[in-house]
Symmetry: C2
Subunit: 326 residues, 2 copies
């Protein structure tokens, strides 16, 4: 943890205030250095009061995502979030991670951007990422999986995001296979899993995640209003803390990534099926030029969707566009 992260951590642990002397000792820096750090934290938007009786206390948090703040909130994790970086703007956080991956950076690094100029979804589709209204981030993973097993990571991400959203907002999201979370039938989360591999061995996987958090109705283009919503709109309340949600998501992802790496995908799959709007439903699937219609029955060991077609044949779906039928 950086010094700023440690300071934020200490301030949050002592809502009534913590003395400069105590902080200085804990961090092994001078009291003057503590004072200077507080000033820097104020400059990026933290409201920190100082007084002779209570020392320093945190009375307000900025809307911005700050790497130190996220690290302080997250605390210790196994893999996901060991390193966090925040960009004001980038083309796509997946692009940034891709470069880091090629430079040999260790797995677990997370890149957030306050906005993306070329955010993308599956199949090369565009993903809107308006400034500070959602969470647009990517995670570098280096699992020992074969290329076709990486669907497991999309599945794990979906349940981790679902739990985090429940914890922070109280909302229950439904999973739409393979990569969307819906609330009231409208999309709030998209997951894009990209991989670099040899034929039989994954080099690295990039999980790209977009969560619509604080948009109002006006911020969605008219043609998307029936299809997409934000957590704030769905909860019908005020602004949601993006930093709190972000760290909750990373914590849950870290937990599920450990399950996948530990060979416990069946537990992940069971939880996924329980939260899934797709299983048990009639679906139509467009896969390139093929079109399949049938009933989604379950997930297989690789996270592929098993669909029983009208002709009674069991089809294994690893991608494509799945539409839920009425």
């Amino acid at each position: 943890m950086t010094t700023d992260a440690k300071i934020l951590s200490a301030l949050r642990a002592h809502p009534d205030g913590v003395s400069g002397a105590q902080l200085a000792e804990q961090l092994a820096i001078s009291r003057a250095a503590v004072w200077a750090r507080m000033d820097e934290l104020r400059q990026v938007g933290f409201a920190i009061e100082a007084g002779p009786h209570f020392g320093y206390r945190l009375v307000g948090e900025p809307d911005a995502l700050l790497a130190d703040d996220l690290l302080a909130r997250l605390g210790e994790t196994k893999v996901v979030g060991r390193d966090i970086r925040v960009f004001e703007e980038t083309t796509s956080t997946n692009d940034v991670i891709e470069k880091l991956a090629r430079d040999g950076v260790k797995e677990g690094v997370v890149i957030f951007a306050e906005s993306q100029t070329k955010g993308r979804g599956r199949l090369g589709r565009k993903w809107l990422s308006p400034v500070r209204q959602g969470l647009w981030f990517s995670i570098l993973l280096r699992p020992e999986l074969r290329p076709q097993e990486t669907t497991q990571l999309t599945v794990a991400s979906a349940i981790a995001l679902r739990r985090a959203i429940k914890t922070v907002t109280g909302l229950t999201a439904e999973i739409k296979w393979p990569n969307d979370l819906l609330i009231g039938g409208k999309k709030v989360v998209g997951i894009l899993t990209e991989l670099s591999a040899e034929v039989d061995r994954v080099r690295h996987v990039i999980l790209g995640i977009g969560v619509d958090v604080n948009q109002g109705v006006a911020e969605f283009p008219a043609e998307l209003r029936k299809l997409a919503t934000s957590l704030k709109l769905a909860a019908g309340g005020g602004e949601i803390s993006r930093a709190e949600l972000a760290t909750e998501i990373l914590r849950e992802l870290d937990f599920d990534y450990a399950r996948i790496c530990g060979g416990k995908f069946s537990a992940v799959a069971d939880e996924w099926e329980a939260g899934c709007a797709t299983i048990g439903r009639n679906v139509s699937v467009q896969m390139g030029v093929r079109f399949i219609r049938g009933r989604a029955e379950s997930l297989d060991d690789d996270g592929a969707l098993l669909v029983r077609t009208e002709h009674g044949h069991l089809e294994r779906i690893i991608g494509g566009d799945v539409t839920l039928e009425k």
Copy 2:
């Protein structure tokens, strides 16, 4: 084709000589420009005679690989070799292609290097690429395949290389699944297939190919002499024209890539099985921590190897280390 490529093409078409006037007209440049070009070609190693009676004629070729020369020899192809670039030295030709791929370069571009400082084989292994003694090159492809189908491209490459080697050297290579060509049980060719993908869709594939062409015994490290050889050693003759072999390989790859894209993998697979040292043999396969022993029976539709285990179960092998048993 570049002007130099056209000149080389014309010189080869007229071994007895072609007049400067004729070349100038054909290329729509001045006779002085033709003269200047000849001088440049001489500087990179072509022996070109000039005389009042025969015009210009080609009497010697350099050992170096030259992009213009390769383009001239190759002529028109559908995809593979539409663009050829030669580097004196690079880390790995796959790295160069990777960068081009991310810049959006069209499929079919081929990068040769006269030497690689970090040539690599499967599973992160090192590949030796001594200066001008072999062909070290990579090809960018953008097929409409799913990640697990990319094994098809490795299979297609193996048969294309086998035909090209037969044509140029008369040698018959055996295929060892999935990515090696052997002569007399010793490796002469390695193929590394790397991919960038979404879970269900390939973005691009890089075929990295290494062919040991003109090494002598002394040029192989002692520990490799029982395992690897060069085409020159296997043929027991003189130097083999790397430019001729390179263009023959690209021509054959172009043919097989068209078959794959046209959905004709079964024809490719049949040819592969006929030339394969693995099919019908007892093999042991190390896949991560798993170890399988059995009889290699055939290829499936995705190019995976089907192995009948000692217990009668049919296992689908998409990677791993395959050893032929006695």
